[in-house]
């Protein structure tokens, strides 16, 4: 068994599950902040094996899910311009905007949209198409923002004028504060995102334990990681001794990646941002610093983001905040399915509604 396999070892998991069953002495509502954790829990088949007293809630950590309707509308407006090539990660293609339109439909109608695997690919696209403006859709959290910032620095070095980024990045810690301030959320503990934490480290989450007396565990994506983290949460609640623990030490340094943060904040600065289903969260987004405004698609292409009304009937906001389980939404599985998603939680491969719909037996 190699190292990677050992984190999925059935015998090890069985032991951890037995411990979890015997040590859980009070109900535990934990939120997996990150969509990849939601999917990992389903995919590994852990969900039906957990003790009944454990309720897991899906959080606002799927970047596709929290991209606001008005931001999707801005993508679609851009996709209609003759001189623009949109470059995007694949999972934004099916996100519904106003009136159910999405980038897939825009592409079928003739919009020039390229699915890329990294922002560097988008930069290459700009180099190859000097007569067009290539706009990279900057959606994501702290995980992707530094790479995108680094790409902007490269574009600046190369004097590229036809590469722009539409920055709708979001930051995770401010969203956690909103959840903790809302008494209806009633979250006992957080499974903190592994990928985002490789950049952030422990420090930005400390307020969760210190100010709100809530445990938080930075976790990997294998069953052993998740089970070990649940045991840490149970133990902390038993002892009423709350802290942020880094369970994912093989990938996450306690201090995060200082260089990545430096790059990110050399290009971007924080600003208020709109989150789908949640609304405006102060200082939770990243916008271009003035000296990089030449790369800011919003300014360079004169795009105005006007707040679109929420989609009628869609309860994705309640689901993202852990106030509602996907199956309790009146649209779930009826008016809203992966084939015809109404809300973003159903469209994203990492969305909680899509995960419940796809994986629940």
């Amino acid at each position: 068994m190699n190292v990677a396999e050992s984190f999925r070892d059935p015998a090890l998991c069985k032991g951890l599950l037995e411990r979890l069953h015997s040590e859980l002495d009070q109900p535990l509502r934990f939120m997996e902040v990150c969509g990849t954790h939601t999917v990992a829990i389903f995919q590994s088949g852990l969900r039906p094996l957990l003790p009944e007293g454990i309720t897991h809630l899906s959080g606002p950590g799927c970047p596709v899910c929290v991209t606001h309707e008005s931001e999707v509308a801005a993508f679609l407006d851009l996709a209609g311009r003759d001189d623009v090539i949109l470059a995007t990660f694949g999972d934004l293609m099916r996100v519904p905007g106003p009136k159910g339109r999405n980038l897939k439909l825009a592409k079928a109608e003739g919009a020039r949209i390229e699915i890329v695997y990294s922002p560097i690919d988008a930069l290459q696209l700009a180099i190859k198409n000097p007569g067009d403006t290539v706009v990279f859709l900057g959606v994501g959290f702290e995980t992707t923002a530094p790479t995108i910032a680094g790409t902007v620095l490269m574009a600046k070095q190369q004097g590229l004028n036809n590469f722009k980024v539409l920055s709708f990045h979001k930051l995770v810690p401010p969203a956690l504060k909103v959840l903790l301030d809302d008494p209806e959320c009633a979250i006992d503990s957080f499974l903190l995102p592994g990928h985002v934490s490789t950049i952030l480290g422990l420090e930005p989450y400390q307020f969760v334990a210190q100010n709100y007396k809530t445990p938080g565990v930075i976790t990997g994506f294998d069953p052993v990681d998740i089970l070990e983290s649940l045991l840490i949460m149970v133990e902390q609640r038993k002892k009423e001794d709350y802290s942020i623990v880094n369970q994912y030490k093989r990938a996450v340094s306690d201090s995060g990646n200082a260089r990545a943060r430096e790059v990110m904040f050399s290009v971007f600065e924080t600003a208020d941002a709109l989150w789908r289903g949640v609304g405006c969260i102060p200082e939770s987004g990243l916008v271009f610093r003035d000296e990089f405004s030449n790369f800011d698609a919003l300014k360079a292409l004169d795009i105005t983001v006007t707040e679109a009304p929420p989609t009628p009937g869609c309860k994705c906001g309640e689901v993202l905040k852990g106030k509602m389980q996907p199956g309790d939404c009146p649209l779930f599985g009826k008016g809203c399915t992966p084939a015809k998603p109404v809300g973003p939680c159903m469209v994203s491969t990492e969305g909680s509604c899509a995960a419940y719909y796809k994986y629940s037996v």
Binding site: R8, P10, C13, K14, T36, F42, Q43, S44, G45, L46, R47, P48, L49, P63, V64, F89, G90, D91, L92, M93, R94, I115, Y117, V139, G140, F141, T143, T144, H195, V196, P223, P338, A339, T349, E350, Y357, K358, Y359, S360, V361
Partner: protein, 345 residues
């Protein structure tokens, strides 16, 4: 074609005109490689010696890139249709072949593809008896599209069908899953994985013939092409009105494919295969079928991956595929919605 003039080294609209240029192309290329008496007779249609019941299938091939590790669009066009015909418990005998070609295609590229097709047909033991060539203006197609139609004699009785899976049956696969899909995807996107990933494109008709004649009582045969194992098993579960229990830990997947999928956020169970089959048959025959497949050129990694059961006999219901994870948990393995796309993080 080494003595060709410069103009003859590139495909022109003239080559699809039906005139002299077409005749030269057909004579120097298609007849040279596909050489057989039925084609050479040059009639409007092929005269075939064949008896029923028959299995017939058609498919169009538009793969990008047209050349990839382990095969090319030509091998796919033969293997894909041969395998579809064979999965009905048939011996594929004849193929038709229609080309839609883009003006400006290097003749050398076309020749490589035609030569691949001839080799693939030869290995499968099928004859390409009729064809068609169209050349369309540059940009109207992407280099080359190929349509093949295959016809074969069904020799299994009863013939395997997607609606014949029965509770208690074993679900076997003839080898590793996802090799073709990941190879083509990584080739298309220029990802250049430094690994041994290559397409599994292969003819499966000889394996089918051996399974039916030596093992018998084969209820279902399917090749899990687009949509992969997960989608094909869902189709079978729906057609047969049964629940299929798939044991994730038993599904053979190459480590390189698993790692590539993990990197891209893809699931190998949904990736296309072009040289693998699913065989569903009574459990008591499973071991013999596995041993037979493992003794054949394209079945070395054959494995039992699951069982068929009644819908009300455990988690899941009729028409569904339930995945049993190595931890002993269960989840639904649904049919793929849309295409798999790489994700943000």
């Amino acid at each position: 074609m080494s003595k060709a003039t410069l103009a003859e080294q590139t495909l022109l609209l003239d080559h699809g005109s039906g005139g002299q240029a077409s005749n030269r192309l057909i004579g120097s290329l298609f007849f040279k490689y596909f050489d057989n008496p039925i084609l050479n007779a040059m009639n409007d249609a092929a005269r075939l010696e064949i008896v029923g019941p028959l299995s017939m299938s058609t498919d169009s091939y538009t793969v990008d890139p047209i050349f990839f590790p382990g095969g090319d669009i030509g091998t796919l066009a033969v293997h894909g249709t041969v395998n579809d015909v064979a999965m009905m418990g048939a011996r594929p005998k004849y193929l038709s072949c229609g080309f839609i070609l883009e003006e400006g295609l290097p003749m050398e590229t076309l020749e490589r593809i035609v030569a691949s097709m001839a080799n693939a047909a030869n290995e499968a033991g099928v004859t390409i008896v009729t064809g068609d060539t169209k050349v369309v203006p540059r940009g109207a197609v992407d280099k080359v599209f190929i349509n093949t139609t295959g016809i074969g004699e069904i020799f299994a009785s009863p013939a395997p069908t997607g609606s014949s899976a029965q509770p208690g049956d074993a679900v076997l696969v003839s080898g590793t899953m996802g090799d073709h899909g990941l190879t083509v995807l990584s080739g298309r996107e220029g990802l250049n994985f430094a690994t041994d990933i290559k397409s599994d494109s292969a003819p499966l008709n000889h394996m089918v013939e051996a399974l039916i004649s030596q093992i018998g009582d084969i209820h279902v045969l399917r090749d899990p092409t687009r949509g992969g194992l997960a989608t094909t098993l869902n189709e079978i579960a729906g057609q047969s009105g049964v629940c299929i229990n798939l044991r994730e830990g038993d599904v053979p997947v190459r480590e390189s494919v698993r790692n590539g999928c993990s990197f891209l956020g893809l699931d190998p169970l949904y990736l296309a295969n072009e040289g693998k089959l699913i065989c569903i048959l009574p459990q008591e025959k499973a071991q013999a079928a596995l041993e037979l497949m493992r003794s054949m050129p394209y079945g070395a990694d054959a494995a039992q991956v699951g069982t068929v059961r009644n819908g009300d006999d455990g988690p899941g219901k009729a028409g569904q595929v339930v995945l049993e994870t190595p931890l002993g948990g269960h989840r639904l393995l649904a049919m793929l919605e849309g295409e798999q796309l790489p994700r943000i993080c």
